[in-house]
Amino acid sequence: MEQAHKSHPNYIAVFIGLAVLTVIELGVAFLPWHKSILILLLVFLAMWKALMVALYFMHLKFETKRLRIMVAAPLPLAVILVVAVIQEFR
């Protein structure tokens, strides 16, 4: 291994965070608010959870800068793909 992990992040705290966010998601999904506000809130919560998994469970927070840049590279491409196809269907 190129790195020895002497101390680990607090995985249980991340787990509790993910569980709490899931409960909040369930509560938000059934609020009598406007659909677009609900969608924005739910997507924000899902992205937050996904980021926690990537940063702490997949250890991206502790990886080299080069690897982090590489991982971030396809994300704009993913957005471009969806936006470009949506334009075709408008």
């Binding site: 190129e2 998601e25 899902a46 997949m58 396809p74």
Partner: protein
């Protein structure tokens, strides 16, 4: 001549310098990340197509909770998050040289991962009984395509995890070298991450 031959041997046999390893990580981890980045594009194509269809034909979808069972899937989401924790605990145990912990957490991950697949099969059976099949319009076909591909990924993950667990019981992973555990862990967490997004997009919105 002897000098030239020595130079060739050195070039071929010596491991690459740190600066020559891809992105500063070992090869199998870099390979897994490359694979996962291709998976990002794969799931983007699925999620993107879903969003386009959903917003161009909103009437084809029922309101959240009307057809799909949200409480059961919420529990299943929690189960998958639990399996990510047991996986990362297995990695931490391996890094700490805790062989007992490594085996215990890997077995837990296999069992919890298999439970997730079992609950998904249970959900499919109930939906099909209610005549919500893959041919039930856009809603049915997109639902089964997205959750089906994800379920396939989880199933493959469980099979690979069983292999890694078997190797752990053979004492193949040490504190100095537990790359296999870290690499399968990356795949497993990615599958969890995709489910977090799918749960919101398919079930809650």
């Amino acid at each position: 001549m002897a000098h030239a031959s020595h130079a060739v041997t050195q070039d071929v046999m010596l491991p690459p310098a740190d600066a020559e390893t891809g992105a500063g990580v070992y090869t199998s981890k870099l390979g897994m990340w490359m694979f996962l980045l291709s998976e990002v594009m794969f799931f983007t194509a699925l999620i993107g197509s879903y969003l386009i269809l959903r917003f161009s034909k909103p009437d084809a979808w029922a309101a959240p909770g009307q057809v799909l069972n949200i409480p059961v899937t919420a529990v299943n989401t929690f189960i998958l998050i639990c399996s990510s924790v047991t996986m990362v605990k297995a990695y931490a145990a391996a890094a700490d040289g805790n062989q007992k912990g490594l085996k215990l957490w890997l077995v837990a991950t296999v069992l919890i991962g298999a439970t997730f697949v079992g609950v998904q099969v249970y959900e499919y059976i109930h939906l099909i009984e209610k005549h919500f099949t893959p041919s039930a319009g856009l809603y049915g076909s997109t639902f089964y395509t997205m959750t089906g591909f994800h379920g396939f990924h989880v199933s493959m993950g469980v099979i690979c995890m069983m292999f890694v667990t078997m190797r752990a019981f053979q004492g193949k992973y040490t504190q100095a070298d537990h790359r296999g555990v870290e690499v399968i862990g990356l795949y497993w967490h990615f599958v969890d991450l995709v489910w977090i997004l799918l749960f919101t997009i398919v079930y809650l919105i």
